[in-house]
């Protein structure tokens, strides 16, 4: 096994992408993800890859579309306002059934917002962001090591299901350093990219990458086919981590950075005799609904913790069909909830049990 190294989240993501075979990175700087772009600028030329700083976010995402069409592993990254700009291109990539990886290291919004950590792009990531009927697989790491493993997964899942995958982080995860080990390669066996517009070598018919279908019945059929694939993703790829859920009466649920803070709160609540547990979705789409339904069996209430005004809370309520009360604790605009704030809210809820 390789040695542990101490790396920033943003840089770890870059190295993991290269290890996973990403050879095309199209970037545009924005805090708090700029170190990722910077890392790719340094590393890509050394390994025979392509780093290109585009003239805008819109250009960058369309370069990803081009590289992905040719069958290459391609990635772009940005932070919240930049992801909004990429929305159109992301929809085109989804509509063209192309594998690609998009990284969003979220900052406070709306608008230009701020530069501190945030989770207020949950709706954008999981419900659309671009136009049309489509989904992204959305992966939400909560440590630098998991940034590495989910970056490998992101490229594999994108290829496996021919769809764009988003890695949804935040300023805290992008900026923090933790020890990591880089795996050398993924274990998955992936289908050959017979659809890619690389070269026919005169041996086959031309491949065409397209998202324009003028005839509605044709477009509907293609959307149905795509949604059949989405159904398979929902069945096979939902992931979560449970912590002290077995007897939890109060299930705290959070993803990414806030799940780490929530874990501190769960430990403190347990010491005070409150049966708290943590349910952390690792995939935000597909949302791990079954885990919530299972947790609802012991839970008297749920508490979602987010760096937003409350977005994931809607999926939690839907997952359990509102069978239990779902409370909210969050900060917004780049403010980070403290374990103490979460504990206070949890104690208030538990008093009513």
């Amino acid at each position: 096994m390789a040695d542990k190294v101490l790396v920033k989240g943003n840089e770890a993501l870059g190295e993991a992408a290269i290890a996973a075979g990403c050879r095309f990175f199209f970037g545009y700087p924005i805090t708090p993800q700029t170190e990722l772009s910077e890392y790719m600028a340094k590393r890509m030329p050394k390994i025979g890859g392509t780093f290109l700083q585009a003239e805008s976010e819109i250009a960058a995402i369309n370069m990803v579309l081009g590289a992905a069409s040719a069958g290459a592993r391609a990635m772009t990254s940005s932070s919240s306002p930049g992801i909004s700009l990429k929305g159109e291109g992301i929809s085109y990539i989804a509509g063209s059934d192309l594998p690609a990886v998009i990284v969003n290291i979220q900052r406070g919004g709306p608008g230009l917002g701020g530069i501190q950590p945030s989770q207020s792009d949950y709706f954008q990531a999981t419900k659309g962001g671009g136009h049309g009927d489509y989904h992204l697989i959305v992966l939400a790491p909560n440590s630098v090591q998991e940034i590495v493993s989910l970056t490998f997964d992101a490229f594999d899942l994108a290829d496996l299901y021919r769809m764009p995958v988003m890695i949804l982080g935040d300023g805290m995860l992008g900026q923090m350093m933790e020890p990591v080990v880089f795996p050398e390669h993924s274990e998955r066996v992936l289908p050959e990219k017979t659809w890619a517009t690389n070269t026919t070598k005169g041996l086959r018919k031309k491949n065409i990458i397209n998202s324009l279908y003028i005839k509605p019945d044709v477009l509907e059929k293609i959307n149905f086919e795509r949604y059949a694939r989405y159904a398979e993703v929902e069945k096979k790829e939902a992931r979560f981590e449970g912590y002290l859920l077995e007897d939890a009466e109060l299930v705290i649920t959070a993803y990414g950075a806030t799940s780490r803070i929530s874990r501190n709160a769960v430990n403190a609540l347990r010491e005070k005799g409150i049966k708290a547990g943590l349910l952390r979705p690792i995939t935000l789409w597909p949302f791990p609904k079954e885990a919530y339904q299972a947790a609802a069996k012991t839970a008297k209430a749920f508490l979602t913790v987010e760096m937003s005004m409350g977005q994931m809370i809607e999926d939690v309520r839907l997952a359990i069909d509102c069978a239990r009360p779902v409370h909210f604790c969050g900060r917004t605009g780049g403010m980070i909830p403290t374990p103490g704030e979460i504990e206070a809210k949890a104690e208030e809820i538990a008093r009513a049990f």
Binding site: K4, Q175, M176, R260, I261, S262, R263
Partner: protein, 177 residues
């Protein structure tokens, strides 16, 4: 021992470098570690700080809101963070740059004229590392022996000539009484 550490000072004083030394030391001694800098407008001039956690247990939030160990290398940092220190915390003050004493009586304060000592020893940029030596002496957060390996990791091979002055700075801090 485990520790929740906050290091703060001006940009350019090597706050992040000092934080990295502790983080590597914890990692090489087999502990769980996290390190997160404040990356706001502060890093573009002005004050600078970073949170370091070294723990036997898995680490939840990487942010240190109530440090057990506080390193203050300038007055604004001491003013801002003294009140946040946990009761019983150890506060390290660069007394060359900070004229006042620690006001709280439920913490332990250590005054070391690190900037002056660094200047006297001909290593004016290494006041940060002198404080690291003092912190190791007073807290046992990591061993002095591990620092040889840490410096090999942190100082790039092209700057290997900087390892010796860093070791000297560690020793000055460690021996300062």
């Amino acid at each position: 021992m485990a520790g929740r550490m906050l290091l703060a000072g001006f940009g350019g004083q090597g706050i992040l470098f000092a934080g990295k030394l502790f983080t590597y030391a914890g990692m090489l001694e087999g502990k769980n570690v996290t390190n997160i800098p404040e990356y706001g407008p502060e890093m573009r001039g002005g004050t600078c700080n970073c949170s370091v956690i070294i723990d036997e247990e898995p680490i939840g939030s990487p942010l240190v809101l109530e440090p057990d160990i506080l390193i203050a290398m300038n007055l604004p940092s001491l003013d801002r963070f003294e009140k946040t220190a946990a009761p019983g915390a150890k506060i390290f003050v660069d007394s060359t740059l900070i004229g006042r004493k620690v006001l709280r009586d439920d913490v332990e304060a250590f005054y070391i004229p690190a900037t002056g000592l660094a200047s006297d020893a001909g290593i004016p940029k290494l006041a940060n590392v002198i404080i690291v030596g003092k912190v190791i002496r007073e807290t046992g957060i990591c061993s002095m022996e591990i620092m040889d390996k840490v410096l090999e990791k942190v100082v790039p091979p092209t700057r290997a000539h900087l390892i010796a002055p860093n070791k000297k700075a560690l020793e000055i801090g460690y021996e300062f009484a």
